[in-house]
Every structure is written in C-alpha cells, then in structure tokens.
C-alpha cells in the first residue's frame, strides 16, 4: 500500500514538474517581459504590512520589517538641505568600527557602541541631549580575538518598552528602555569555538531573532528565536547538518531542483565538514507580517579554501524563508553554491510589491547580493525573476533562470599551487553588509557598494577550534576605473542603474533615503553626504571626525522638527587598518583588505561619535 502511495506521489510530482517547466518555458525569457512593462506598470512599493507610516521614531536598524531604511519625514528637502548644521554630538568613548545606527524612541536616543557594547540613552528633550543612563554589559575581552572583522556591533532593536541587543561574546540581552536595567541575558554563542555575535537582532511577533558570526573560524551557523519576554529559546535553526537541525520539514518547498532532497546539509559536504562549515547568520533579517515569514541570508562556507569542501555546501551562501512561529523552513535558495571567494549571502533583503506587467503585482523580495547580482525573487516561492549585475563581475557568467543556478566562469577557482589573479568581485563582494535604502518616492534602491578585485591563493587550512579556519591568501585592489567604492541608484523594475556615484574609498556605510528626495551616506574618510535621490547630484556634505561606516537615520525631535543622525568611527573589515593599527606593508593583512586601503591610515584616524544635524531654527 505504502509503495503504491509513494509511486502515486512520484507520478503526481512528475506531472507537476512537467507542467511547471512548460509554464516556465512559455514565459521565458522572463526579463524582457518585465522590462517591457517597467515603464507602464510603475514602481515597486514597500510591502504595506511591513512598512507602516512614519511616526517619527526609528526603532530598528532597517527602519521597518520591509528593510526600506526610508524616512517619511520631509521637512529637510533638496532646497534646504544645504543649510543643515550640527545640532549636537555624542562621543561613545570607543575607537573600534562604529557600524550601529542610533535608535530613537519617544524622544530618547539609544546608542550602542562596538565592544564593550555599552548602551547609552540620551534625553533628546534636554539641551545637548545628555545621557539618561548608561548600560554596561561587560562582555569578555577575549571575544575580540575571534571577531573576524573588528569587534563591531550592527545595532539594537526596540520593542514593547525594551531594547534588545547582542554582545560580542555571544550573549543576547534585553534592557528596560526606561531604566536601563537588564531584563534578561541569554548565552547563545561560544567564543571558545570561535562564535561571536555582531548582528542586530530583529524583534517581531514577540520573538527576538539572533544569529551567530564566525564564518572564518570554522563555526556552524544558526539563527535562534528567543521569547522577547523571557529570553528563552523558542527555536534554533542551523544552516548546515541534517534536516531536523535545519528545521526542514513537510512545509519546505525548494524553488529549484538543486535544493531538493533529504539532509542536503550533510550530503553536500565531505563527511563531518558540515559541523565546521560556516553558514553563519550575521546579517539582516526581514519579516513579512502578512505571511508570518522571515527572510535572511547565510554566510560563506568554511574554509575559504574550496578544495577542502567539495559539494554545494548547503545551506551556506543562500536565503532562507522561515515561519516565524516554528522556525520551519518554507524555502531555501542558494545564491552561490560551493562558494569560492567568501561570497556570503547575508545582505539586506527588501520586501516589496513588485509589478510584473498588466497591472499585476506580486509579493517579491529584492536584494543586492554579495556575488554582484541584484536578485528579484517571488517571496512566496523563492523563484528568481531576475538577477542582473549591479557591479563588476568576471567570475560568474550569470544566473540560469531555469535551474536557478549561478554559472561560474571556468578556470577562476583557486586551487593549491595556483593563485588566481583578477577575481572580481573580491571577497567582500560587489557589496558587503552595509545595507541599501529604498525610496518609494523614486522607486529606486540606493546601493552603497564596492569596486574591488583580488588575487587569491589557497592552501590547506587546519581546523583548531577557536582559531581562524580560512586557508587563503588574498590581496585586494581597486577594480576597473580605480575607484574603490560606488553608490548605485538601481531601478529594480527596469533592472538597471539610473545613476552611479564613484567614490575613491570603499563604500562601507549604509544609506538612508528620505521623503525630502534626499539620500544620505558617508565615506571612509569621514564625509557625510546628501545627494539628490533622482540625479545623484551632491547637495551638501560635512566632514566628521573619523570615517563613516555606520548607518544614518532620520527622526522627529521633541520640537517637531526633522533630524538626521550618523555615527562616525572608522573600522570594521575595511577600516581595521586604522582602528586596529594594521601594518600596511603586508598586503595580506585583514584577510587581504589591507592592500586595498593602504592609504587610509594617512587620511583618517579612529573615533566614535554620533553627529546629529538639523535645519537652523
């Protein structure tokens, strides 16, 4: 009886597959169809349920669950932005890379510092915004030794009277927003095994979502959901290993053949390697409240030396959609199977309603991936509608929309004894963690990113718990054109760049878009810039004390006026040469980034200050 049933299911599956392929073939090529309708069908718009109207607060790094990083405040316009002036500044007392955006909730600004992860509450109702309280979590100093890319923190989140944040030494904490008292602390990651936590938690549906860092340390990646009230773990989904650990069950539907099968998280690795294979979750999580689904990406597989891990290395360098209640996977799409160059897939995922022609719209996710392609995917199924390069790529030919698979360029894979030159994009990708902003006013995505290529040689990496598991020598340099950074305004519907601004230094700061038709971002030598969201014309700039790698935000102050805040403090992977005083003579320093930013120590020094700007009264 059971055999018949299995047979029946197989037959049905085959019929479905054939029908599906047929439909797909009829529709393909998908891209021209989309392009034809781009002009008439209009702009992509933020997913409504995930992007409520602006209330003047800024309660999570991404601004909203749709990850727009868009402020609805419009007092500061293209006409008056030139008059912006400093309202107040705040020094954090730290000099490590300052990536975390401040939060503003009900006239209090919350500032999280890099290690030692102190949290300040500043009273915006008083002149000069003096601290209301300071929370010092005192994380272990030893954690700094296993944080691959500087002891950074990417921000906190506010929910229901509490501030939630992660500590570098592997703890998640909840702090009372009023008093600054710690409510709970949950130890999730183990620095003895090379795990740290640098990501900003996302709080949704009463759960705090936290993932680990350490893709360069031979750790096993996971995302955990904690009860926001108690800090107890509700579920924990690993990125590698058997299906029961990855939370792949009956509800899982892979968009493509390549992600179908049982226990791929074990079978796509050499025996046992999945236990130390990476796939960490150190980036951004988005949430669709309508379908109660979270979306997030997984990191590179480890070690970087690809020869030690033949196979697709599931479920690294791809995107998961999961049920927020149970953690069960809905689908997984692997952007970069068997990653060769540290092309993580942890970048921000923007949730939009996407026009597909004839006035029809689908719930989509759009994302500039580290491998250099801008993906448009149906977020119900994970299927790729388009994947176009937004930066310089010479190691991938494209994405096969039929199989969903990335097509690598043959002969560019580093093997022991043969270094490969001119790999574009370099290990930090066409874009690293620093998120883009999406403006519903222009319908454009503003992508702060990189133009770096590299030479790479690999050798056998030894696994020693708590030490780096890399096995690669890298040397990065500017890509074609000589500029190391780019800000691209990308039309996700027409799938092309509308304008590009070339920046000399790597662009490591996130972007902010506002209703005033302005986009804000910062450079590694400290210039905070405001540009016209339609043309890219520079409207205003201000030189901050250190380099900018942190995210600007916008909020409404107690006086009813619009403010812009930005952290200044160079560091992170790109700026470690300054904040960690690396020696620029060694091109392989900071996993090869040193070579690309040799001039940085002469141009900027370390710091940690929040700058807040407003129009003159």
């Amino acid at each position: 009886m059971r055999r018949i049933l299995v047979g029946l299911i197989a037959v049905v599956a085959i019929i479905a597959l054939v029908a599906f392929t047929f439909i797909l073939n009829r529709k393909s090529p998908v891209q021209p169809t989309l392009q034809q309708h781009a002009a008439s069908a209009g702009k992509a718009t933020p997913a409504e349920a995930a992007s409520p109207p602006d209330d003047g607060n800024w309660i999570m790094p991404a601004k909203d669950y749709a990850a727009t990083r868009f402020s609805g405040l419009g007092e500061i316009t293209q006409a008056n932005v030139g008059k912006l002036q400093v309202s107040f500044t705040f020094s954090t007392g730290t000099t490590e890379g300052f990536e975390a955006p401040p939060l503003v909730v009900n006239n209090v600004m919350y500032v999280v510092t890099p290690w030692p992860n102190n949290l300040f509450a500043l009273d915006l109702t008083k002149p000069g915004a003096p601290p209301k309280w300071e929370y010092k979590p005192n994380p272990a100093a030893a954690a700094k030794g296993v944080a691959c890319c500087g002891p950074v923190n990417r921000g906190a989140s506010y929910w229901n009277g509490r501030i939630f944040m992660n500590l570098l030494d592997g703890n998640a904490v909840a702090v009372d927003a009023e008093s600054g008292k710690e409510v709970w602390r949950t130890k999730l990651a183990d620095i003895q095994r090379g795990e740290t936590i640098t990501m900003a938690p996302l709080v949704a549906d009463g759960k705090v979502l936290v993932g680990n860092s350490g893709g360069e340390m031979g750790v096993r990646g996971w995302l955990a959901a904690l009860d926001a009230d108690t800090g107890k773990i509700v579920w924990k989904a690993y990125s590698t290993g058997p299906d029961k650990d990855v939370l792949i069950g009956p509800g899982y539907q892979a968009p493509y053949q390549q992600d179908k099968g049982r226990d791929l998280g074990v079978k796509s690795w050499p025996p046992g390697y999945w236990k130390i294979g990476g796939g960490t979750v150190w980036g951004w999580v988005s949430y669709d409240p309508q379908s109660k689904t979270i979306f997030y990406g997984t990191s590179n597989p480890g070690p970087w030396n690809q020869e030690q891990r033949p196979g697709d290395n599931k479920f690294t360098a791809g995107v998961f959609a999961r049920d927020i209640g149970t953690g069960q996977a809905r689908w997984f799409y692997q952007s970069t199977p068997h990653d060769l160059y540290d092309h993580d897939d942890i970048n921000e995922i923007l949730l939009v309603d996407y026009p597909i022609g004839n006035g029809r719209r689908i719930p989509a996710l759009i994302r500039p991936s580290r491998n250099g392609f801008f993906y448009v995917q149906d977020r119900r199924t994970g299927r790729v509608l388009s994947a176009r390069p937004y930066g310089m790529i010479n190691v991938y030919k494209g994405v096969d929309l039929r199989s969903g698979r990335l097509i690598p360029v043959a002969g560019m894979e580093p093997v022991p004894g043969r270094a490969v030159r001119n790999i574009c994009p370099a290990s930090p990708g066409a874009k690293d963690w620093n998120p883009s902003a999406f403006s519903p006013v222009t319908g454009l995505v503003y992508i702060p990113h990189l133009n770096l290529c590299q030479d790479m040689g690999v050798k056998n990496a030894n696994y020693i718990a708590g030490t780096p598991f890399v096995g690669a020598d890298v040397k990065m340099y500017a890509g074609p054109g000589g500029n190391r950074g780019v800000l691209t305004a990308w039309d996700p519907v027409a799938q092309r760049a509308v304008f590009e601004i070339k920046e000399d230094l790597p662009l490591w700061s996130p972007a902010l878009a506002t209703a005033g038709g302005i986009v804000f971002y910062g450079t590694m030598d400290g210039w905070f810039k405001a540009i016209d969201a339609r043309t890219g014309k520079l409207l205003w700039q201000f030189k901050t004390g250190s380099g900018i790698i942190g995210q600007p935000i916008s909020y409404r102050g107690p006086d009813g006026h619009q403010y812009i805040a930005v952290p200044s403090g160079v560091g992170g992977w790109a700026g470690a040469i300054v904040s960690a005083q690396l020696d620029p003579r060694d091109p392989s320093g900071a996993l090869g980034f040193s070579n690309a930013v040799k001039d940085l120590p002469k141009r900027v020094s370390a710091g940690g200050t929040v700058y807040v700007f407003a129009l003159p009264k």
Binding site: G145, D455, A461, I464, F469, A580, D583, L591
Partner: protein, 182 residues
Amino acid sequence: MSSRFRNSIWTLVSLALLAGCDREKSNPRGQPLAETIPDTSPDTVFPGDAKPRPLDPRAADYEQNAFAIAQGQQLFGAMNCVGCHAHGGGGMGPALMDSQWRYGGRIDQIAQSIAKGRPNGMPAWEGKLTDRQIWQLAAFVRSLSGQAPKDAVAARADELSNTPPQTQTKREPALPSDSAQQ
C-alpha cells in the same frame, strides 16, 4: 701564491666560519633536556630599582637560527597564526612586523605571550605546542620585524607572493620594552 689558491683558501675559511654560525645549527632530534619557557614579564617598570630578568642565553640559538625560523614559519601557518596576524601585518590580531609590542618584543616575552595567551583574544598555546615549538614560533615572529639575521630567514615567501621575501624586511628600531637587554 696563485689567485685561484687564494680564492680556495677564502672559500674554505668562509665555510668554516659559516659552519660555526648560529644560523647553521640544527638539532632535529630534539634535546633530551626539558626546555621551559622562561617566566618573563612583559613590563618595563620594576619598582625599587629592580632589574628585568636577563634574556635567556638559549634565545640566541633560536632567533639567529635558520632551522628554528623555518620551523617557526611552518608552524605559523599550520597553527592558524596567519589567520589573525596575516604575514605580519595583522588582522583579527595585532601586526607583528612593526615596532609596537603590547606585551614585549623580546623573544622570551613573545614566547610567553604564545604560551600563556593574552587577555584580548590571544589563545594560550601551552600544552598544544611543545616549548621547543613555541621558541621556534617566537623566533619566526621576531624575524617578521627584521630582527633575525638576513642569512637566516627565507628568501622567498611561502604563500602566493603577496608578501615581499623576508630578506627584504626592514629591521624595526629597538623597542622600549626590550631595550634593557637588546
């Protein structure tokens, strides 16, 4: 005396001198005696006019010795030191090719840092490496800032020619923390 004969004598003399050098010493079978990491302080201030402990005389056997430095270089890759310190320029861990030493730049101080670890993330390797290996590693670390004789270091880099050969490494100035015994 023909010039050829004179040249031969000079060659023989140089060879004899070279043979007597620290550079050429090697003891691949190891010494039966226990080699211990000396209990050195990373500090330079000693109250009551006390003096820092003198440098262990065995240090020279390592830091001027081609075999020890080569072994140290091997270990520097194999034990993943390179993942944090790169090829001297640093990354997760501090640079080792410059003149700044948080915990002292004398070979015995470096050996101490390797053996005991340091609180900002340097693991303690005691028990994972033999003391002899720790000395060899410390010798290689010294060579990264050009402290080793040029005829004792490797003339080509192990990795994909990203770093200049160590024979070209500039010798960094004497360091405050080891000035007492340099």
